[in-house]
């Protein structure tokens, strides 16, 4: 049972890590980046190239891959979201465009690296550590710790700093934000950059568990969206808790029901949450003014 809980928490942290990055983009643009799972995958693949093939130290690899994916996220913004202007709520063109970008990323990765998943070195070696009678990989501890730190970082940035206020103001009304002397464009770019860097970190953390391959995030990516929504879009705390809930739920459904149905159950919970409480666990619904 404790092993189950740990594995649930680890997968949950990974979903949370995706949800946090999805969330930071939502916080500033009000949209969901449907190519986020593929950015995470590319983080893993670049990690493979830099660390396994080139032999860079892991820490350097993370930083370099983080930079590359951050730039890629900004390119993604310019090519698939910016063309739809300021009023992104009005159309769903960006949704199709980011989905399209995700397809391109995945298939180009397949052309370059092939579809075969490859092993990836875990953080902290492969020796099990025994904590309170539970055997756990150092990598799993790293996943939990790093996710927690990133969640706190985003929480502080969004809720406690002037930058966070500027980011939220951008989401609320870009024109007014510009009139306040804030460059809305810079806020959006900063958020896409941050989400890209976090995507790369997520890629490094997921790859040792799932192996690195172009299809490693097909279902993980969707669960990241699920986590963000269950927790409530716009709330870092929600994204973090939503991820953990999803991970534990998945671990439970693997033992209580059969493993094959775990994805079905996770998505069923996501659908029910959206239907019953679309604002998520941590947000409050307001009556919209007509």
């Amino acid at each position: 049972m404790p092993e189950l809980l740990i594995s649930g928490l680890v997968m949950g942290s990974i979903y949370a890590l995706l949800a946090l990055a999805i969330n930071i983009i939502y916080s500033t643009t009000g949209i969901i980046n449907f190519a986020h799972g593929e950015l995470v995958m590319l983080g893993g693949m670049f990690g493979l190239v830099l660390v396994v093939n080139t032999g860079l130290p892991l820490a350097v690899g993370i930083v370099v891959a983080g930079g590359i994916i951050a730039v890629l996220a900004v390119v993604l913004y310019y090519s698939t979201i910016k063309p739809f202007g300021d009023n992104l709520g009005g159309s769903l063109g960006w949704l199709m465009a980011t989905l399209g970008a995700g397809i391109i990323f995945r298939n180009v990765a397949m052309l370059i690296w092939g579809s075969h998943p490859r092993p990836f070195p875990p953080l902290g070696g492969t020796e099990l550590i025994n904590i309170f009678g539970v055997n756990i990989l150092p990598h799993e501890i790293w996943v939990l710790v790093i996710t927690f730190l990133i969640a706190i970082f985003f929480n502080v940035v969004l809720d406690k700093t002037i930058l966070g206020s500027a980011i939220k103001a951008t989401a609320s009304n870009r024109n007014t934000t510009r009139l306040m002397g804030i460059s809305a464009e810079k806020m959006v770019l900063a958020c896409f950059g941050m989400s890209g860097a976090v995507a790369a970190v997520a890629g490094f953390l997921i790859s040792p568990i799932t192996f690195a391959g172009p299809e490693m995030t097909v279902s993980i990516g969707l669960k990241g969206f699920g986590a963000a929504i269950i927790g409530g879009l716009g709330s870092s705390r929600g994204a973090f808790v939503g991820g953990l809930i999803l991970g534990i739920l998945e671990a439970l459904s693997m033992t209580v029901i059969t493993p094959g149905y775990k994805d079905a159950i996770v998505f069923l919970v996501m659908i029910l949450t959206i239907t019953i409480k679309p604002e998520g666990i941590f947000n409050v619904a307001y009556e919209k003014k007509v």
């Binding site: 949209i31 989905l99 399209g100 969707l222 239907t275 007509v290």
Partner: protein, 601 residues
């Protein structure tokens, strides 16, 4: 009366004639295709026709109703497996499997559509993606029923005991496809189709026109699911073998891509998109490795570069394709007389109404009665709560306390569509026309509540359905003429000026044949001539026995047309009476002009 009420072929313009000729050639080409093309290619065209049944259905929900579904492959899979299981395990013939598959898929469509009542946009996208994944997983895991990843073999379609050949199957697909297009076209051209498009363009305005959002959204979902089920069943028999990986998420994206490329929200769009995207890759086999990458790029390029698809681009070049002809007899009296027996009573009664938004009390213990067949105006400074009051009357907001009765019936708790059908029409302060519908169609949406024929009658276009349609069409033209907008009938509402859009809203509200008409700042943004015109319009409306409740800032205008004026300030009533009395009321002067000291500053 013919379609679009064009009297004959002779009344078609050049663009429309060309279009009909192209359509005729296309149908002939499909009819004689098996005689000329080889069997491999015939199979590809059959597949395109099967897909076209699905994409036409997807177009109803995504293109017309504006609810993006990324779970269509799931419904397609449900249809395919229903057909396959009935045929393979129970030995039932295709002709029983097909309706069963449509029914089962339709049922799932109802389930999938339920969340749309609360959410749309990216939430709906995620729900439908999740639905597709769940279906795929169940198809893999429920091995006793579906055969799991190993798949399921399906027997051939038989007719009178003999299995259909490749050519005969092609004709079967073509027949079902043409039937689908005919049914869909008739639904879209009916008041059902207008209701779908109205929901896509503006849910709030649609519900204020009497359109039941729940019913129509679910109907659209079920229609699209039924067609996906039919396509799925046909596919199962077509390929003779199905497995879960034939119904993956990427297929859902492909389906959406076809209608985006062709032109969502048009009948022809899915035809062009589906045929192009299924047939062209057959000539580009050397690109097969890059096929998905190209699809991804196509998705980005088309939503950015051609948001209305190929058909949208053609329409822009040839605007005269949409051209409504006026009916022979445009009535001089477009506003039907209100034969209400509330000649002297109070048509609307509000008692002690309070509405709070969070901590702000927008309306505070407000009471008012509107006398039948009068013009009752509401004035007050900005932020006094005037529009909130209209929104409470027609059910957009629910008050926290108090009672609203309309013709002695309680309105509290009813949704805007029910209140609209009870006889309350409205316009909006910030104009809410259906931007992507033509001016004429906008007005016809207003007549929604008068259509009584059910969907089957609309599909086969019974005499009664055509009569209703004809009445709506005629009334819409008359109202447009009355408003002076008849020369704009075939244009899209978005292309009108702000003032014209306001007049269009009034025409649309009059098409509802309301007993009480709520006008929220109809004169805002109008010039003097237009205001004079509007004054005349309001007087005519009143002469026809329709009660008008008017919110307006132009005081001269209000004083001229009103029988009674109520002044609202900070959510409560400041004064009420005849225009001249209110004008002389010191409290009113104070609220509008400030106190004397303030004036001195």
């Amino acid at each position: 009366m013919k379609r679009k009420f064009n009297a004959s072929i002779g009344s078609l313009n050049k663009e429309q004639k060309t279009l009909w000729i192209i359509a005729g050639i296309a149908v002939l080409a499909f009819l004689f295709a098996p005689a000329v093309i080889e069997s491999y290619f015939l199979r590809i065209v059959s597949l395109a026709l099967i897909y076209l049944i699905l994409t036409t259905g997807l177009n109803i929900i995504a293109g017309y109703t504006g609810q993006v579904s990324l779970g269509q492959a799931g419904l397609y899979g449900i249809g395919a497996y229903t057909g396959a299981i009935l045929a393979a395990k129970l030995g039932l013939p295709f002709w029983i499997c097909l309706p069963a598959a449509m029914a089962v898929a339709g049922l799932f469509g109802l389930v999938l559509g339920a969340p749309t009542l609360k959410v749309s946009g990216h939430y709906l996208a995620l729900i439908t993606i999740g639905f597709g994944v769940i279906v795929e997983k169940i198809l893999v895991e429920w091995q006793s029923l579906t055969g799991g990843p190993m798949g399921l073999a399906v027997p051939a379609v038989t007719l009178f005991g003999h299995p259909l050949s490749e050519q005969e199957f092609y004709y079967l697909s073509l027949g079902l496809c043409l039937l689908t297009l005919w049914i869909t076209n008739n639904i879209i051209r009916s008041y059902f189709g207008r209701a779908f498009s109205a929901i896509r363009d503006n849910e709030l305005a649609a519900s204020c026109m009497g359109i039941n959002l729940t019913r129509y959204k679910l109907l659209a979902f079920v229609l699209s699911a039924v067609l996906a089920g039919a396509a799925g069943c046909l596919y199962a028999f077509y390929s003779a073998f199905i497995s879960p990986d034939s119904f993956s998420f990427s297929l859902s994206i492909f389906f959406l891509l076809t209608i985006i490329v062709g032109g969502a929200g048009t009948i022809v769009g899915p035809i062009i998109g589906t045929l192009l995207l299924v047939i062209i890759p057959e000539y580009l086999h050397f690109l097969d490795k890059h096929r998905l990458t190209i699809y991804g790029a196509l998705l980005i390029v088309s939503v950015i570069g051609l948001p209305q698809g190929i058909v949208g681009a053609i329409r822009k070049k040839l605007p005269r394709i949409v051209n409504f002809l006026p009916p022979e007899d445009v009535s001089a009296h477009p506003i039907s007389r209100n034969a209400d027996n509330y000649a002297t009573g109070n048509i609307l009664d509000m008692q002690n109404v309070t509405k709070r938004f969070g901590g702000l009390t927008a309306i505070d213990n407000f009471s008012m009665t509107i006398k039948s067949k009068t013009v009752h105006s509401l004035i007050g400074p900005n932020g006094a709560g005037k529009s909130t009051l209209i929104n409470i009357i027609n059910g957009v907001y629910h008050p926290d306390e108090g009672k609203v009765t309309f013709r002695e019936k309680d309105l509290i708790g009813y949704k805007p569509d029910r209140i609209a059908l009870a006889g309350i029409g409205r316009t909006f302060q910030n104009v809410q026309v259906f931007r992507n519908l033509t001016v004429l169609e906008n007005v016809m949406v207003g007549g929604h509540g008068k259509h009584k024929s059910n969907i089957c009658a609309s599909i086969v276009r019974t005499v009664k359905a055509r009569q209703e349609e004809g009445t709506s069409y005629q009334q819409a033209w008359s109202l447009l003429k009355f408003m002076g907008l008849d020369d704009k009938a075939s244009e899209y509402a978005a292309s009108l000026s702000a003032g014209q859009q306001r007049l269009l809203e009034i025409a649309r509200a009059l098409a509802m044949e309301p007993k009480l008409l709520l006008l929220d700042e109809p004169a805002a943004g109008l010039n003097d001539t237009e205001i004079k015109h509007l004054m005349q319009i309001i007087k005519t409306i009143k002469e026809n026995g329709i009660t008008v409740f008017l919110i307006e800032h132009h005081i001269d205008f209000v004083m001229d047309v009103s029988d009674t004026v109520t002044v609202l300030n900070f959510g409560s009533k400041l004064a009420e009476g005849k225009p001249s009395e209110v004008q002389a009321n010191p409290d009113v002067i104070k609220a509008y002009l400030g106190t004397e000291e303030a004036e001195l500053c």
